[in-house]
């Protein structure tokens, strides 16, 4: 068999297997991300069947996957939404950073991965998966709940933090000197500010530049623009992913909606390849030694996310059940934890075990998150009942009290 035939067969087999895994995930109501990672682990180095002929393609495809992940994330928000989200949730956002980055950093330092490893693991445990969370909230019919805007504005804050964190991380991973690092960070901060201002003031010109009534032309223009911007950003030491994210923010209105619809299937395809490639490059044998730490991190960061959500929801005068729901909703980690770990591993600046820990952690959290969101209500109710002596008046008065306590959420 010649090389092309073999590549096609391998690629076909991988896609088909991913499709089957995705269907399985849908059946049991889970995010497909952990299954894609598992699939990658099975076929990668040290796995069952090593796939070697499609390395070039999958490498590039996984890069495109990251670009598309961030581009679509940017397309979801308008710059105005980002700013209101920032104003509304910055206190909760800061608490979120402190509580959830700390466990990752601490474990990395304990394992002797140094300050760079600590910064990487801090990002891995900090960032919730907006993809998984938005889907779970929709599936559970919680879009109309009063705590949902609280959850979403924390996610917006996290995404903005990512736009700052990723270029800083790339600079640090590049191993530049302290001065050079500061310069790179300075440049990236400047670029981000300029792009945000452009997006806010002149977003419609950017939209007009890529927009087209013809689907084919539009697809080529938006995809081309994304890859161009990503490439240029990467050449300027601002990570490729952030470039795509910023382009996504600059494109707004109906152009953004159309672009999302066109690009969604492409993103799903390439992002799936990205997760598989990450799994491929991780040796399954390296996971058992770090599994204990992954479980410790999973437990710790589940509690810290629940605490973050609880606190943020309480500030909006939301009842106890709602606070518990907000906390549990935030637990899921997924795509961005892997993006961060992926950046670190590609740069080769961190211990190889880090990839294994990140994989095991995301495997746990991508399953634990949706489960937590589902079971939080019965558990919180049971706890409430236990605390209340049975002689107390029926729950109706309690409900009336909380209703009187709660003020309307800010609207306009």
């Amino acid at each position: 068999m010649d090389h092309t035939a073999l590549s096609l067969i391998e690629l076909g087999a991988v896609f088909f297997a991913l499709g089957v895994l995705g269907r399985l995930a849908g059946r049991i109501g889970l995010s497909p991300i952990p299954l894609y990672l598992l699939g990658g682990l099975c076929f990668g180095s040290g796995g069952l069947i090593p796939l070697t002929d499609i390395g070039d393609f999958t490498h590039l495809a996984s890069e495109i996957g990251v670009v598309l992940l961030l581009l679509l994330l940017g397309l979801e928000y308008s710059a105005a939404e980002l700013f209101t989200g920032l104003r509304r949730s910055w206190t909760a956002g800061l608490l979120d950073i402190v509580l959830n980055a700390a466990p990752g950093a601490a474990v990395a330092l304990l394992l002797g991965w140094g300050p760079i490893g600590a910064i990487v693991m801090a990002g891995v445990t900090y960032i919730s998966s907006s993809g998984i969370i938005a889907k779970v909230l929709g599936d559970l019919g919680r879009l109309g709940n009063r705590e949902t805007p609280v959850v979403l504005s924390i996610l917006v804050f996290e995404d903005l933090v990512m736009a700052l964190y990723l270029p800083i991380l790339t600079a640090i991973l590049g191993g530049v000197s302290l001065l050079g690092g500061l310069e790179a960070v300075g440049i990236s901060l400047l670029v981000i500010t300029v792009v945000l201002v452009i997006a806010l003031k002149f977003g419609r010109y950017v939209s007009a530049l890529v927009d087209s009534d013809d689907r084919e032309v539009f697809l080529l223009k938006i995809l081309g623009a994304a890859l161009l911007v990503a490439g240029l950003a990467s050449a300027m030491q601002v990570s490729a992913a952030v470039g795509a994210f910023l382009l996504g923010i600059a494109v707004s209105g109906s152009t953004a909606h159309n672009a999302t619809r066109l690009l969604e299937p492409l993103r799903d395809l390439f992002a799936a390849v990205f997760f598989v490639v990450f799994g491929l490059n991780t040796d399954p044998k390296s996971i058992p030694p770090v599994l204990g730490w992954a479980v410790v991190l999973a437990v710790a960061t589940t509690l810290t996310k629940v605490g973050t959500g609880w606190w943020a929801a309480r500030r909006q005068n939301i009842g106890k059940l709602g606070r518990a729901r907000a906390g549990a909703a935030l637990v899921a980690r997924g795509e961005f934890s892997i993006v961060i770990a992926g950046l670190a591993v590609t740069a080769g600046a961190v211990d190889g075990e880090l990839a294994a820990l990140a994989t095991a952690y995301v495997l746990l959290m991508a399953v634990l998150g949706p489960t937590a969101a589902r079971v939080v209500e019965p558990i919180a109710k049971a706890l409430q009942r236990k605390r209340k002596p049975p002689a107390e008046p029926e729950p109706k008065t309690e409900a009336a009290k909380t209703e009187a306590d709660s003020q309307p959420v800010t609207g306009s």
Partner: protein, 160 residues
Amino acid sequence: MNVEVTPLPGIGVRKDFATRGGRRIGVVTQRDGKIELIVSKSDDPDACLASLPLSAEEAGALANLLGAPQLVAQLNEEHRELPGINTKQLPITENSPFDGRTLGDTAMRTRTSVSIVAVMRAGQVHPSPTPDFLFTAGDLLVVVGTSEGLEAAAKILKHG
């Protein structure tokens, strides 16, 4: 009525209001146009008892169900001093012969002497429709006239 508009970043907009009983009722409109009707729980006002996905057509039908009786009651109130004059809401059903035809085609005024004073469509009121107003299935007509005239009008709309 104080309707709260809350942006849901990345998802859409929630518009709701509190009823006198303390429950919240509203609508979540998603970016892609999906509409959900939400009703809050009585024992947990932050959560939703139901969030029902509605198609645009279903949302329109629901809006008509809620809006038309109010309009009819208002018109009836106005006509109270005129004995024998009533207001009624009459639907254009799926198999009505006037689905896709104009108000003029019904010749309603000539045949029954009742007036079609408004058409409710997709939650919107179209007042004083002209003879070239095109009916479509799902429209609710607000008709004013004598009881006999209204009965005759209902038959015409159903059977032609």
